[in-house]
Amino acid sequence: VNRLLLLGLNHATAPLEVRERLAFAADKRRAATEQFRDRFPDAELVVLSTCNRVELYVARAAHARPRADEIAQFLAAAQDVDAAALRPHLYEKTDRQVVEHLFAVACSLDSMVLGETQILGQVREAYEAAAAAGSAGPALHPLMQRAIAVGKQVMHETALGEGRTSVASVAVEYARQIFDTFEDKTVLCVGAGKMAALVLQNLAALRPGRLVVCNRDVAKARRLAEPFGGAAEPFDRLAELLVAADVVLTSTGACEPVITRKLFDSLRRQRRYRPLFLIDIAVPRDVEPAVGEVENVYLYNLDDLQRVVATTSTQRRSAVDAAGAIVARAVEEYVVAHRAREMGPVIDRLYKRYHAIATEELNRTLGKLPNVSDAERAHLEELARRIVNKLLNDPVQALRRGTDAHAPAGQYLHALERLFRLAEDERAAPAGEADGGDPAR
């Protein structure tokens, strides 16, 4: 009988300094997994490590090792931190709680940014790494696969993952609605502030053909452009750059608009009336609103973008209930299926064992009774069979029926195995029943 354990920390329980010390890079995770397998060869492990959480999912036999504090020590040792200092940040979950937590994580219900879709990919990656390292076994394989499926289902069926959560991602979304490909496009950034860097990073991910930063201080422009492979240009070339640009991001500190309708009108013919996407995140604004009225020009200011972000978070919050319901249903299904999977063989063994005892006793009695007809013999066999079935019926039904939090299936099963010595039975089984002995007697 397997037990699930989870030990971890996330953005709610640990500050960034702690999380960044505990985060596993891919190779470090591989090394840690191997170490874990050396120490606990019979246990399974999946390490989920993102910038907001580090979680160790462990499955092992009941009453086997590692125990929770051993996992905590292992984590501390692997990342070279003090176990005692780590302890207050860690949360610990078992069995059903683990399933609930993992499913909620995969659906991004537990994320810092509600509904972010990256986490699903990270769960998948963690699972694939564990599968490749051979540390995921019969308990964690189905659990992780189900979690990924539930994550996908929630993203498809609810509005939890819809919309955009940052100004930069909203800008990128609009850019994608205007342009099909970016290899032949030019992104121009006017101004070189911090906010510009953030949006530019997202725009650079579209891999535009050319990226130019235009700023009064060219050195500053160069510093901003270089990481994205862009070029820096002085501010007095703005008009010329506007002719070539397809996407323009403005964030200067200027008090007056730097792109006026007059300037833009003078460039339209040279631009051959190409569509232009203007993102003005400066306050006060850098682009005259009248520019946005020009045909084929799409002007968005900070307010426009932030409105979308605000709507997204409202929309996502309202989708939490629907997502929660899907998760709850999935957890219930998983736990019931898991229970059936684990309990099936045990119940089977239980019935076999008691029918064997009954048959043995019946044969012994029949041996003492002469002149038993075939019909009488059949009746007695039926009697013995029914007694066994009736005796076992109630406990088996109780096992199958309910999981209440106070008595998880694992514990029941473990008790059953101990009480009825089913584990010994299993070990004795390969030797056959030739010994005829009944360990219970």
């Binding site: 498809h156 205007i178 099909d180 051959r272 009336y273 045909e295 799409y298 979308v308 605000a310």
Partner: protein, 358 residues
């Protein structure tokens, strides 16, 4: 051969399958679920297969494998070509929402085929020009339907981008890609429409000798004017690479306008005479006596009258029907060599010769 009940039933099933597929596709606006996508795809391909089966059945029954031979056939072909275009785009590089805008046109065409589709062949002079004319005009019409549907998509996306709603509607593809499809389909349609116009005029002028099947009033014909207007609208859209101020929104609007005009032209073709209607004369039997009268009227008329005498005895009055009758009897060549425009006029003003059979 007429459209059989079986063919009609199969056509209705095809329409039903397309409608189900369209509903599944629309359902994806709300939730992009895998099963809906599968249903919409299966219905699209299945509908095309069923439609082709209708065409094969119909052609086999009619004994002619040339498409566009009658109304029914032509409308089903148009609908299926549109559906085929959607299937192609969605298989090559999906453009979400394309089927929401194109498939309704395809379904309308199929419904029109079921309701109005009749198998009376068009009243045309069978010739190569006529075949080229029909194929290029119909395929051009498909291209224009695509450009109009994509044009509408363009306008919706553009409107969304301009009005900046906090909750954006379903994504219909980028403006750049939609514009590309508008221009490509207008280009293809324009080339085909030009061929259609030229072959159409050639066909009508084939009567030769300066006389046309349209009659002398053809230049005032609304059909000709509408067709030319369509041609001009699309010419404007296509010149956007030269004058880019016409690109984007204007091209999209014009593609829709062009399509509406084109539908108007097609309706006009069905219900309007080629030339303005003349004073309706009672059908009259023009007879040999008339020919003899014509013969008196100048050189060359004898050739015409010989041909006339050979094949066409019964001709109803009116220039168009006269020319048609000549065309159908193969008398065209002879008549063309005569200064027949005057003869036709003569014919029109001639009073019926009561009972004057020669």
């Amino acid at each position: 051969m007429n459209v059989t009940t079986g063919q009609l039933a199969l056509l209705l099933v095809t329409i039903g399958v397309f409608v189900v597929g369209g509903a599944a596709s629309l359902g994806r606006v709300y939730r992009d679920r895998g099963p809906l996508r599968v249903v919409s795809r299966v219905c699209l391909y299945g509908g095309i297969g069923l439609g082709l089966a209708v065409l094969i059945w119909h052609s086999a029954g009619r004994g002619s494998w040339f498409p566009l031979d009658d109304n029914f056939d032509a409308l089903v072909w148009l609908g299926l070509m549109l559906a085929g275009f959607v299937a192609y785009v969605q298989a090559a590089r999906p453009l979400r929402g394309l089927d929401w805008f194109v498939m309704p046109i395809a379904v309308l065409l199929l419904v029109a085929a079921a309701v109005f589709g009749r198998t009376q062949p068009h009243e045309y002079v069978a010739s190569t020009w006529s075949v080229v004319h029909r194929v290029s005009s119909y395929t051009g019409a498909v291209a224009f339907a695509v450009s109009a549907a994509v044009g509408v998509m363009y306008l919706i996306v553009q409107r969304n981008l301009r009005h900046k709603p906090p909750v954006p509607g379903p994504r219909l593809g980028s403006l750049e890609r939609l514009e590309h499809w508008v221009l490509t389909s207008v280009f293809v349609g324009f080339a085909l429409l030009t061929i259609g116009l030229i072959t159409g005029v050639t066909r009508l002028l084939a009567a030769g000798g300066g006389e046309t099947l349209l009659g002398p009033g053809w230049a005032q014909s609304p059909k000709v004017w509408l067709a030319s207007a369509v041609w001009v609208v699309y010419a404007i859209v296509l010149h956007s690479p030269i004058n880019p101020s016409f690109r984007g929104r204007k091209a999209a609007v014009l593609s829709v306008v062009g399509f509406v005009l084109m539908v108007g032209t097609l309706v006009a073709v069905q219900y309007m005479p080629a030339a303005p209607k003349e004073e309706k004369a009672e059908p009259q039997i023009t007879q040999i006596t008339q020919i003899t009268q014509m013969e008196r009227r100048g050189a060359g008329a004898s050739a015409s009258s010989r041909a006339y005498a050979r094949g066409t005895l019964a001709v109803t009055a009116g220039r168009r029907s006269f020319a048609l009758a000549l065309g159908m009897t193969g008398a065209r060549a002879s008549v063309c060599s005569a200064p027949n425009r005057r003869h036709l006029r003569n014919l029109r003003f001639q009073s019926p010769a009561p009972g004057g059979a020669a």
